[in-house]
Symmetry: C2
Subunit: 134 residues, 2 copies
Amino acid sequence: MNSQIRRSMPLFPIGIVMQLTDLSARQIRYYEEHGLVSPARTEGNRRLFSFNDVDRLLEIKDLIEQGVNLAGIKQIFASRQQQHFETTPSVSPKVVKQDLSEAELRKLLRTELMQAGRFNRASLRQGDIARFFH
Amino acid sequence: MNSQIRRSMPLFPIGIVMQLTDLSARQIRYYEEHGLVSPARTEGNRRLFSFNDVDRLLEIKDLIEQGVNLAGIKQIFASRQQQHFETTPSVSPKVVKQDLSEAELRKLLRTELMQAGRFNRASLRQGDIARFFH
DNA sequence: ATGAAATGTTACGTTTCATTACATATTTTT
DNA sequence: AAAAATATGTAATGAAACGTAACATTTCAT
């Protein structure tokens, strides 16, 4: 896949990227500062962006316009990465869907029920709660 | 799958949910106001949350703690939904991965090149750019 | 080679969002 | 009936995402 190489080739200085994306230089640098893009650098320390970088910036712009903040964008990108490795049974890198396990919930519920027999008897028939505990 | 029914059964008043999630009532209501949870209501207009609702709140809490704002959480939930319908070739409901197509990029690049022969000749050998246009 | 233009970095000010703090009305519990 | 819990609405607070300006350095054009 030669196109992948071409797409990641450092080409555009920030001025061009500003025009392509309609983002301010300040914004672009800010996004880099927060790890959302990582353009290459020339010897003189100028940024050089690839096609992929520009794509990424356009996605960022899109999400920003929908009100998503940088932390959210980071999460979204991270979770997208994982989709990619879904064949590899790796340890999910931090975005664990920390669900309340049934066991845990049952424990909490049971404690609650012990501690005070209150809480909406109205909406539950006698047996209903018990059914959660089998 | 009976458990799915049980998990979506309205059970907990907000006070219990506060304890289970360690969120303030105000926060929980705020999240509802922004469409992130939709607890049922009693006749007297009190909220009743299901297991699923509590799970959702815990996820919200988790993401908030990672700095994601409500808009971001909304996007994340939305994109999760879509994974689910991935068998159905439906029109993606708004979170289109609006990539710059190669064609489009080429057009922009060509225009740029026409308009002014400038922009980092230094980093490109003569033939490199031409290669993008085949 | 030299001045002009572009870009880099840094610092301060502004606006918006999530949260907290109150105040009041209504429902539920005892 | 009184007390406790919940609903709703209105400020006040603090941090994030920039705009903007100042100044240094790199690159471009003649």
